[in-house]
């Protein structure tokens, strides 16, 4: 079978594009300046070169030295690949300081012949052009521009090159490119964005078009780390171990009973409830029980600083400090307002790769929700789910909702991301605070449908079946109490 895709090695991109770039065709990567187009190009070129696909980077905007330095700083080892002859960096800058006069019509065959020569000399099969925008300067008249670009793409096609053409766009959500002609003749068009979202910047990537190939549509969060570009697609390849059902204890026997024997591995639990319903306590019990069993656990606390969190757990006899010191539980306390979405995703991913936890806790994702726009939060959650699933990890996420209010109006996609949803609530009784808990959804498992009673006390949480009799008894007590008062 003929190979139709070639992997870029850019984390996440090959998932989004269902296999990578179209072989022997041209891909247009557009974005404003600073969106990471060059990094994408260099990262893909270095990865292809490492995999035995000889690549050329044609620098129109930057010198070869600058491109090599950019790639080396991100660990792509461009210089090494260059020295080995696996990757060639060709500097094709125009001397813009010297005068240029236009006298009549012209075309692009000068560059085309030079590229043909270079391909012949190096045996290259892939090419990155950085960038088309700089190439067409001075900008030819409209009718010529299209012809020029077509000639260039046609040349790449004739040479059998898998090409990545970078082009500048005037704004994040506007006409596709400054030149306005490139996308017609390319088989794949990728848009990179660095949108202002409230007071922060949000990077995203979108496969706008991929001729004759399935791909994921819409914007996906991405980030630029010290190791290059990384994208967080929602869908990660299925992990083999996800096939058989494995349960583990939630840390509370009552909750294990509710969930028909414990939580399922490789699933994301969403715990929803109003402030004071016991979410943080449940998260703490869950994390501590995991660590005491010998699992590695990361707990992201977004609501309070670390000492406060440890003290609060200690207060109810849930000694968490010792577990942290023992090394199995890692507490990461950050204020979402002070960090960027991408940083959190990177942190989560690096944390998963380095600390290798089997359980992840985030308390609470609402803090992030409030710090981001709706779109930004959606992207963040998709990113989180993607990282967790990609690593086959189990997670417990808490979300604060208003008491007695249907939570789904805020972020309906959360229900889809979560494999199981638990809701916590309390009845605003005048006599005592009745905390209740329900399992609303649990993919792949039977679960109880009636509410359980939850109590916070010494040693953490107790969760008990709330029987109809118990409910009636408490209702009677309630009415007696109100009778006495009135």
């Amino acid at each position: 079978m003929m190979m139709t895709n070639i992997r870029t090695g850019v984390p996440g991109f090959d998932v989004l594009s269902a296999g990578g770039l179209p072989v022997g065709r041209s891909t247009l990567v557009v974005g404003r300046s600073g969106t990471g187009k060059t990094i994408f190009g260099l990262q893909a070129a270095s990865s292809m070169a490492r995999n035995g696909v000889k690549s050329i980077v044609v620098g129109i905007e930057e010198t070869a030295d600058d491109l090599l330095a950019t790639g080396d700083a991100l660990g792509f080892n461009l210089s090494g690949l260059f020295a080995d002859g696996r990757l060639h960096v060709a500097e094709m800058m125009r001397p813009l300081e010297e005068p240029t006069i236009v006298s009549g019509d012209y075309d692009l065959f000068g560059l085309i012949h030079r590229i043909e020569h270079l391909v012949e000399k190096t045996g290259a099969q892939a090419l990155v052009l950085d960038s088309a925008t700089a190439l067409f300067s001075p900008r030819p008249p409209e009718h010529l521009l299209r012809t020029h670009f077509f000639q260039l793409i046609h040349c790449f096609r004739r040479l059998g090159l898998t090409a990545i053409i970078l082009a500048e766009t005037p704004a994040d959500y506007s006409q596709l490119t400054t030149l306005g002609v490139e996308d017609y003749v390319c088989d794949m068009v990728v848009i990179m964005r660095l949108a202002v979202d409230g007071e922060r910047r949000r990077r995203s990537i979108e496969i706008y078009k991929y001729r004759r190939s399935p791909h994921y549509k819409g914007e996906f969060p991405c980030t630029i780390t010290t190791k290059g570009l990384a994208i967080f697609p929602l869908d990660a390849p299925d992990r083999p171990e996800a096939e058989h059902i494995e349960r583990y204890s939630s840390g509370v026997s009552g909750l294990d009973a509710m969930t028909n024997g414990g939580f399922l591995r490789n699933s994301i639990m969403l715990v929803r409830g109003p402030t004071g319903s016991g979410k943080t306590m449940l998260a703490g019990v869950f994390a501590r029980a995991g660590a005491l069993r010998g699992e590695r656990v990361v707990y992201y606390g977004f609501e309070e600083p670390r000492p406060t969190l440890i003290r609060n757990f200690d207060e109810v006899g849930l000694g968490i400090g010792d577990v942290v010191r023992a090394g199995n539980l890692k507490l990461v306390c950050r204020y979402p307002e002070a960090t960027s979405l991408e940083d959190l995703l990177v942190d989560l991913r690096l944390g998963l790769e380095e600390f290798r936890p089997s359980l992840v806790v985030m308390d609470s994702i609402s803090l992030i929700e409030h710090a981001l726009s709706e779109k930004g939060f959606r992207q963040f959650m998709i990113g989180v789910a993607s990282i967790l699933r990609g690593h086959g990890r189990s997670a417990l996420l808490t979300q604060t909702v208003l008491a007695g209010r249907a939570p789904d109006h805020t972020a309906p996609y959360l229900s889809t991301i979560a494999d199981a949803i638990l809701t916590l609530d309390y009845s605003p009784s005048a006599y005592e605070l009745n905390r209740t808990m329900r399992v609303v959804k649990m993919r792949g498992s039977a679960h109880e449908t009636h509410p359980y009673r939850l109590e916070i006390g010494a040693g953490g949480l107790t969760i008990e079946r709330w029987s109809a009799e118990g409910h009636l008894a408490s209702a009677r007590a309630e009415s007696r109490w109100t009778d006495v008062r009135s």
Binding site: M92, M93, R94, P95, E98, P99, T100, I101, V102, S103, G104, D105, Y106, D107, L108, F109, G110, L111, I112, H113, R114, E116, H117, L118, L135, P138
Partner: protein, 114 residues
């Protein structure tokens, strides 16, 4: 040859030494370009209007000599490059706007024959 003739002019005091050096022109063309024919014709007609000793024209086929084209960072064809005197100047196109090129050459101190 050119060098000795320029010395003679300089000695005669009629032309300044700087002006005596010929203007160095290279016309880059491609056999695939539809503008090649017009560019050659326009360029040769233009050069014929000047005293032959004052202009030196070379025609370079980029498809045959791509490495030469690197020196002048050729993207576009046809392209006429005035390599000397400095500043190096690029003229893009089939040279159908002769006035612009004449003006450029005049700025180098050469004038069309009367």
């Amino acid at each position: 040859m050119g060098r000795s003739s320029s010395r003679r002019h300089a000695a005669g005091g009629r032309v300044r030494h700087r002006d005596a050096r010929p203007v160095d022109l290279v016309l880059y063309i491609s056999p695939h370009s539809r503008y090649t024919h017009a560019a050659r014709r326009n360029c040769e007609a233009l050069v014929a209007r000047f005293p032959p000793r004052r202009l030196r024209l070379e025609i370079c086929d980029v498809s045959q000599n791509p490495e030469r084209a690197e020196e002048d960072a050729v993207y576009f064809t046809p392209m006429l490059v005035k390599r000397s005197p400095l500043p190096r100047t690029f003229v893009l196109g089939d040279l159908s706007d002769a006035a612009a090129v004449v003006e450029l050459l005049e700025s180098c101190g050469v004038s069309p024959r009367r």
